[in-house]
Symmetry: D3
Subunit: 193 residues, 6 copies
């Protein structure tokens, strides 16, 4: 489907993009083999691009008590609740790769209660879903339940901050009709041999 | 109520905060006369602090088709829908000051349909509320209605991006039980003489 | 904003209003210094006016286990949930005055879970919100929780009756687009010296 | 089922009830052949009883553009939406009698869109349901639609005020677990010969 | 109201209906004294008719731990939640007859929490309502609660399967605007002598 | 994950299953190369098994105005709304195969408004979603919109009946925690060469 635009908004030509942003785009292209559309869609707003990815990296690449796969689980489950096609498909691909599990992303996208999850991960996602959907009702008991499963309060912040960041990202992508790259759909589904 | 903590999480001592963040805190203190609690609550996570305020400034301080008061209107109306006490109270204060209207913030916090708004601003807030609450249902017709009221597509992006950013901010503040400074409640209510 | 009507419906001239209603209006004016718009908006229906205020007085002025401030807390929190601008603003003013707390009304209008409340008052408002929003689900356990916080069953009736009365009042005010007087917004915010 | 109490709260003995309330109870008993439980349940609060029935009579017995059957239609449809057993059953009986239609009450209690209604009555109930369930969203267009069906603005007030009064009544009855008299269930179902 | 059609879709003439379906229709007519409209509405799709009633009979006529009345209770309560007029009225009639209780159907149609139910039947209906309205949230704890009330896991399947079958039936009847026969409304209300 | 059970309920040994059901199971196994778990989960209730698949076949295998791919689209979109993991994954596989499109199922599972759909298919799914989620609000206008897109009223019945049948199927699968076979996740994603 090569003629479907990747966004409701015009996408800048790569040569019109500021140097630092172009560098980041080339870097991700080299690593992934293609440019995820979010980089192209946001490039039209350089300051927002820079802040978005600085925030993303601060949450998704930092050290901490959550594994990379667990962070992507939060993204997939909450993005599905927000009906964000881009984030479910793109981060579902990352989740399959990080967790080395070809099934988990589709499970989380439909119903995290039916996914193959340890009790710890189930508690993590219950908290993330509450932050995403009913943050005004968060209470001490929600933190206590996380502690029962071995999460520290720093982990709780991480879970909530990821859910919150993608609450923003989901709304931007839905507003812009940001289209996931076709490559994402298949990534991590077939074991590499 | 001096003994109510400003966050569910510990707040760093100002001398333990990185230099650039401390400078920003002193700067806002000088301008406002006090330090809004969001700066203290987020300071414990320097990278997230920097990204948060870079994003905030990119959306709220930039040039564009929306006035400063209009941007704050989006914040107040969507933050009320998300039941975020900090954002409603703090940005309500800014809105009263920018719009020179002591009533508008309280009106928007209860029901934007009953506020004293021009048709243009009503359309702006209807769009912002849809981005905040039902972003998966955004359609071409929503953009068309904005255009009918004189908004460009760049304005539409701005409206949506502000609503999206505060969707994140609301969830963080609710999670952290971030307390608004007492000063905000009264700001802009009494005409300065 | 002197030219915005106080109701979607015509308001009778004070000289056309029945004697007893006019007396009540003059009485409140003398006490408050202005005539709250609800008196003018309802005056066009004298029988309804009389029943409305008789009911109001029976619930809000009676002796009982709830303080005046607590009754107004119920009004503010449930009226915010019903998006009733008039009741939030007018009763927010009364709450600030009765509770001698300039912040509590704004807190309750956004999220009663984040307000500065004793556990007793939190339980009172949880019950009031359930009556207002999900009365069909009220069960024995709801009354038991009130008793745990020292409320009698008569107090429970009072809480519920106030929430129920303002469920009506909110709907009337929303239907009539009843506008709060500008005076209410500032009342009780600045300590009298 | 003679041993199921008619309310969660104690019901006063008839001889302990104030004279005027007792008179009203005897009057309704003489007319109906039994005492509807709402009179007994509310009698424990004489001032609230008097205000409740004064308001009820002002809305339900007054002259106006709505027939008695139409007023009861509003009660039945909105009370079903609020899951109030007492009001659906008791006012369903009155509706069957006033409308001389044994089916209409059950239809409205399940789904007013599937009931045998003229377009005028359908518009009346759509407005009443919006007042009952989403009053914060009432707009000029809602009044315009009523006018298209021949309703005056006074009729609109009547429709809304009945929906609002029973929003209160439903919450009181649900809170008190007010039980409908067994007699109501069958009234108006069998043509009198 | 003889001129209101029984369905939004054309109903086949009885002589055009396949032999086996006609036989079933005559059989139910002989037993009930009239032909419930569901048989006529579905007859236009013979294969669907046969599967529908085979499924219905497998769930409603089989042996098992649930009485006939209890099965109809599930139908009435869940169909009311789905606003299906046909199923509430037709199965309400069956429930009154099987349970020899003229009141229970109307109670369940408004609010199963306020109906005259044993704790066992209340637990049964809580489970059925969850299957009907929030099946994605069903957890082990829901089955445990049923066991506490003496239900086997086979009973749990029966409760859920009936709720699920009528989730389908409700949607079909709502789509087709399937009209309940007038006879159902009165059945089982007057004790036969 | 070989040790996760395929259902919350025990699954019968294949040799204990009635002859006709065993035949159907062998038949599907021969065609698909594996036995979809729904056949094993339902086999414990032979009468329900037979009715379920008779109904399924009457809707999904019949001639008519909807293509096989379109029928599966209805299943995937409505099953996602009901959070049914089995149906989304199993019918997503069929949809990819029938539509020869490796992306469409994941798109529909997240947000049918963002999927690559013709206006005709979008209208079909809007109708199916309304039947699935708000069937009590179906009106003549919904059928008119389908006709505008070239659907006959027989097509409308088909769309609604498929949505209704899977409303049942989703609830059964959620109740039983019916697990999709791992094979489904990858089917139709890689072009066969």
């Amino acid at each position: 489907m090569p003629d479907v635009p990747i966004s409701r908004f015009p996408v800048p030509a790569i040569e019109d993009v500021p140097e630092d942003i172009r560098a980041r785009i080339f870097q991700v292209q080299e690593k992934a083999g293609f440019v995820p559309n979010v980089f192209l869609v946001l490039a039209r707003r350089p300051d927002e691009f820079r802040a978005f990815f600085a925030y993303h990296d601060a949450l998704m690449l930092k050290e901490g008590g959550l594994s990379k796969a667990e962070r992507e689980m939060i993204v997939v489950a909450t993005s599905a609740a927000n009906q964000c096609l881009y984030c479910v498909v793109a981060h579902g691909a990352l989740l399959r790769i990080y967790d080395k599990d070809p099934l988990i992303a589709d499970q989380l996208a439909v119903n995290h209660r039916k996914a193959d999850l340890s009790p710890r991960r189930r508690a993590m996602l219950d908290f993330a879903m509450k932050v995403s959907l009913h943050s005004g009702e968060i209470e001490d008991a929600d933190f206590a339940r996380l502690r029962d499963h071995g999460f520290t309060d720093e982990d709780a912040w991480d879970i909530a901050a990821i859910a919150a960041f993608f609450a923003m990202s989901n709304r931007l992508a839905n507003m812009a009709s940001q289209r996931p790259n076709a490559e994402f759909y298949l990534m991590g589904r077939v074991p590499r041999t």
